[in-house]
């Protein structure tokens, strides 16, 4: 499992134009270019500003509940009888998932920008809830675009967003899921660019979003780095995280990219990779342009974007962040996939062994342990990013596991 030296070289993506090798960029209408330049500048100024950094760190600590623990999963470890398994507990963040790390960062940027209206897209509703939450906390108006299909399967999160004062706009075009919600959010932004700040929820979209969201999320990996050193006195051998757009995974992986640590991104195989119903963009897609960047994409023989499928709304997206595309091509990260059924089974097993109900998204990462663990030894240390908790998925679990 030793990595080639070339893969450990210092990593400096993206370049000034937002490219991770050939992936990324700013494929957006002219109307948005000025806003993207301004956002880039706003972000670069902010991260140089000690006061901004202090406010970000303090809000993550006193409001979002960071640092999150790194929990040793002793019974799951015993179950496989091989390497030691740890969980990075993003499920314990305020609002129930890692999404809030990014929304705290972006809402502070929004405050700096002076724009009074916040928009966001959401799939599972976790990013919508995290955005509505910070918008309420800062006192800004919030509109969340959500596919009608997702509104049905994530009803609880819709109620949360409404209670938080957000206006949830159902999107009825196309697949009625995250893809179309994102398109509608971008159309809103093009229309209201003067007074609106768009908080994107994953490492997707035009530059600077993939870079910015990664940098706000890499607190996950930075904490893990320190925590695992203190628990094991060494770095982990393997990191595992689920990948939809890819924000929790890149947040976990990024601080380890220059280290001798193996990384595995787990996509949703839905009903199976050999069916038409999956969301395994990196495993089965080809490069193309969607939502402002060049990246792997599920598309048909005419270059129309295919519908994705996953039981997990948060992974149900035919695109993926451009940085993951570059990491796939370079071989630095290995991307695998897990079906709906494998994820459900893993969620059941994990809950009974560890007393933690994982989000369906995170259950994909946990499910991969079934394949991974037999190849590990007792000396190995594996960290899984438990990106969110399963409360929002209880209706699905109740239906599918009984």
């Amino acid at each position: 499992m030793k990595l080639r030296q070339s893969q450990l070289q210092k990593y400096s993506y993206p370049d000034i134009n937002g490219f991770f090798g050939k992936y990324g960029g700013r494929y957006v209408p002219e109307t948005l270019m000025q806003a993207l330049f301004e956002l880039d500048e706003l972000y670069r100024d902010a991260v140089k500003d000690k006061a901004f950094k202090k406010e970000f760190t303090s809000m993550l600590k006193s409001y979002a509940g960071r640092p999150t623990p790194l929990t040793f999963s002793d019974r799951l470890t015993d179950h496989y009888g091989r390497g030691k398994i740890y969980m990075k507990r993003e499920d314990l963040c305020h609002t129930g998932a890692h999404k809030i790390n990014n929304t705290v960062g972006q809402i502070l940027l929004a405050k700096r920008s002076g724009k009074k209206r916040i928009i966001a897209e959401t799939g599972a509703g976790q990013h919508g809830v995290a955005t509505a939450t910070v918008a309420a906390k800062i006192g800004l108006q919030c509109v969340v675009y959500m596919g009608e299909e997702d509104i049905h399967r994530q009803e609880l999160n819709v109620h949360r967003m409404k209670m938080l004062g957000a206006n949830v706009v159902p999107v009825t075009t196309g697949s009625r899921t995250l893809k179309d919600a994102t398109s509608e959010a971008i159309r809103d932004w093009v229309t209201n660019v003067d007074n609106t700040f768009y908080i994107i929820g994953s490492v997707v979209g035009p530059h600077p979003y993939p870079m910015m969201v990664r940098n706000f999320q890499c607190i996950i990996g930075e904490e893990t780095f320190k925590q695992i050193l203190s628990a094991e006195d060494k770095l982990p051998s393997i990191l595992v995280a689920c990948v939809g757009g890819g924000s929790n995974a890149i947040g976990m992986f990024y601080p380890f990219l220059g280290k001798n640590v193996q990384m595995i991104g787990v996509e949703a195989a839905g009903c199976g990779l050999n069916t038409q119903k999956h969301a395994a963009t990196l495993s089965r897609g080809t490069p193309g342009v969607l939502h402002g960047s060049f990246s792997y994409l599920l598309q048909d023989k005419n270059g129309q974007v295919d519908l994705a499928h996953s039981i997990s709304a948060g992974l149900d997206y035919p695109g993926v962040g451009p940085e993951h595309s570059a990491l796939k091509d370079s071989g630095r990260v290995k991307y695998v996939s897990i079906t709906d059924n494998q994820a459900l089974r893993a969620a059941g097993l994990f809950t009974r062994l560890e007393g933690i109900i994982p989000a369906l998204e995170s259950a994909h990462a946990i499910a991969y342990l079934e394949k991974l663990m037999p190849s590990t030894t007792k000396k190995d240390v594996i960290v899984v990013n438990l990106s969110g908790r399963g409360d929002k998925d209880m209706m699905t679990y109740a239906r599918e596991l009984n």
């Binding site: 960029g25 002219e30 109307t31 969607l290």
Partner: protein, 267 residues
């Protein structure tokens, strides 16, 4: 010598040359290829061409048209359901070319073009008789590879400016562009907002875009809109308002009359 080459290879520059001589403005009409039926494109295009359109813009349907409002979104979805593909669009262009020499431009999102192969697509488009390809997802920063393909095939470099574009950037865009500049009337998507008082905005664009004709599009619905804008701009682009008529199943004859009314408003 240069003009001769343009005349031979591309129909856009000569059009504006002759419109200018007549002190007339350009009417560009947009239709979604393959809508309402897969084979509607050619008869519709020929009808609006003979009714007064100066340029025809053919929309190549995409599953996720970010810059388009509900009217063009719906027409694109239907056209994809009808089975339209880039290959078919180009075949329809060839068919139109058998009957008329009107400047023809394509409008489309990047992904299907990349999937087709960008070099092959630009070459095939030129061969079919296209004069320019509008790519609403390609701002100046990402345009280099497409501009070099345009140069290779003598296609127009049609770029956008919007109310959010600063004056210095308008000048850069004007320097790079050829054919015409697509001036978006308001921030937003196609067909949605009504045209307000945009005279001073167009004047600002015209002041900075000295090299290229400036055509205004997005939200133009009535001959009155057309007349107002034509006072300042070199022409207009209408899409959603026309697609709406097509969706309402107005007969070709009435659509032709509507196009003629629009053209008259530009005199």
């Amino acid at each position: 010598m240069k003009i001769k080459k343009q005349l031979k290879g591309n129909r856009i520059a000569p059009l504006f040359h002759s419109l200018k001589e007549k002190n007339n403005k350009a009417l560009t009409l947009f239709i979604t290829a393959g809508y309402p039926k897969k084979n509607s494109t050619v008869p519709l295009a020929l009808r609006i061409a003979e009714s007064g359109a100066d340029i025809i813009e053919l929309g190549m349907p995409f599953s996720d048209p970010l810059a388009d409002g509900p009217v063009i979104q719906t027409s694109s979805q239907q056209a994809i359901k009808n089975g339209i593909t880039l290959k078919l669009v180009l075949a329809q262009v060839k068919e139109i070319r058998k009957h008329c020499e009107i400047p023809l431009i394509l409008m489309g999102y990047l992904n299907p073009i990349l999937h087709y192969g960008e070099n092959k697509f630009f070459a095939d488009a030129k061969k079919a008789g296209i004069d320019g390809i509008i790519l609403p997802e390609v701002p100046l920063e990402e345009s280099a590879r497409f501009l070099s393909l345009n140069r290779k095939y003598n296609l127009a470099d049609i770029l956008f400016v919007s109310p959010a574009t600063p004056e210095k950037r308008i000048r850069e865009i004007d320097k790079t562009a050829s054919g015409f500049i697509y001036c978006v009337s308001t921030t937003g998507v196609t067909g949605k907002s009504n045209i307000g008082n945009i005279g001073s905005y167009i004047k600002r664009v015209k002041k900075n875009a000295v090299k290229n004709p400036v055509l205004v599009g997005f939200g133009i619905k009535t001959p009155a809109d057309a007349r107002n804008i034509a006072r300042h701009a070199d022409g207009i682009i209408i899409g959603s308002a026309l697609i709406k008529k097509i969706t309402q199943k107005e007969p070709l004859l009435k659509i032709g009359k509507w196009a003629a009314d629009m053209k008259r408003a530009l005199h």
